[in-house]
């Protein structure tokens, strides 16, 4: 499965007012190119922080399902945040990791996620439900289930690194991203 295909499966399952925090690099660009949403927070720098930003939103907006779109390299940079998420245990948080086992945005250098099973790290940290999927047609059921069950929940999607470099970059300025995200999630 390609990363794009994973996003194609996931995006229709997200409601307009549900906050989605994106990790930097291709995660932002794929999601933006497929469907730009006001309630998308595109993090262009600060690698590793999508998870802690998402946790902050989830704690302060307990009535909303908060989704994090993360990358394996981003998760590995901030493994401690998995503990923070599990410790604070927001029921409304769904952490989705697009795991291509490489730092694709910087040229496909290998990451550790081919050897370290991130869903197991999440599970032993204390996430309530964790699912690993490798097939595209398993994504919908898994994501909807994790949206339904009290979290924090973790969905690991194994994908092949095959980003199309002609995919556009996020065109909104950082300031605009802040403004529209805050308005969209109210």
């Amino acid at each position: 499965m390609k990363g794009t295909e994973a996003f194609q499966e996931l995006l229709p399952l997200i409601k307009d007012d549900e906050p989605v925090v994106h990790a930097n690099g291709f995660i932002c660009r794929e999601s933006f190119a497929l469907k730009d949403r006001e309630a998308n927070f595109y993090m262009i720098g600060s690698m590793g922080l999508a998870s802690s930003i998402g946790l902050g939103v989830a704690l302060c907006k307990p009535e909303k399902k908060v989704i994090i779109f993360d990358g394996d390299g981003n998760v590995l940079m901030a493994l401690g945040t998995l503990a923070m998420i599990a410790g604070e245990a927001p029921k409304n948080l769904i952490h989705v990791v697009i795991d291509n086992e490489v730092y694709e945005s910087t040229g496909n250098q290998r990451s550790l996620s081919s050897k370290v099973q991130l869903e197991n790290v999440a599970k032993s940290s204390g996430y309530k439900n964790t699912i690993r999927v490798e097939k595209k047609d398993e994504i919908k059921l898994a994501f909807l289930k994790l949206k339904e069950l009290p979290g924090p929940n973790f969905l690991l999607i194994k994908v092949k690194p095959c980003f199309d470099p002609s995919t556009g970059r996020v065109t909104h300025t950082p300031e605009e991203i802040t403004k529209r995200f805050m308005q969209a999630i109210g």
Partner: protein, 182 residues
């Protein structure tokens, strides 16, 4: 925020003897409801006062950059955040400030302890104690040295920066300003 509202800031700042308790209560009254950070002994009295608060919460962060992420999420959700950290945490959090908060206009009130002041501290604090203010200046992040006399004025300045310019503001805390709890 309009000028009339700004002028209201500091209403709860009629001078009071500065203690960990009075300062935390004042911050909460001023609208800061989300606290996180990594402890420093110089800030231990403040963190002690945060535990068990009903109107505000303190979340123990694993690292200072993760604490910046948490604060960012809180702000984006309409809750004004405070980050408590040792100056050693400035090194860990600098990229978060420069590639996130400063360019996305996401304010945080930072309370940073000054270890290594005047070169009199454990060896690991000496260099950072010398360069932390320079690092803040280089990153164009405004700060004030907090003391028993200036806190009302400094909090007003911070709030202006935070609400009008939507940028972080740092309060630097020296040893002895707040009580320590061990």
């Amino acid at each position: 925020m309009v000028a009339s509202e700004i002028s209201k800031i500091g209403k709860s700042l009629n001078m009071f003897p500065l203690t960990s308790q009075s300062f935390i209560n004042c911050l909460i009254q001023e609208g800061y409801k989300f606290f996180t950070g990594v402890p420093c002994s110089l800030l231990s009295g403040l963190i002690y006062e945060l535990e068990g608060q009903e109107e505000a919460r303190y979340i123990p962060a694993v690292r200072e950059d993760a604490a910046v992420g948490l604060c960012t999420g809180a702000y984006l959700s309409g809750t004004m955040p405070v980050l408590l950290m040792q100056n050693s945490g400035l090194g860990y959090s600098l990229n978060a400030f420069t590639s996130l908060n400063l360019i996305y206009n996401i304010p945080i009130l930072v309370i940073m302890s000054w270890r290594g002041k005047d070169g009199k501290d454990a060896p690991e604090h000496i260099i950072m104690g010398d360069i932390d203010k320079k690092l803040l200046q280089t990153a164009r992040m405004e700060y004030s040295l907090l003391n028993k006399e200036n806190y009302a004025e400094v909090l007003k300045k911070a709030k202006k920066k935070i609400y009008e310019e939507k940028l972080p503001y740092t309060l630097i805390v020296e040893k002895g300003l707040f009580d320590e709890r061990h």
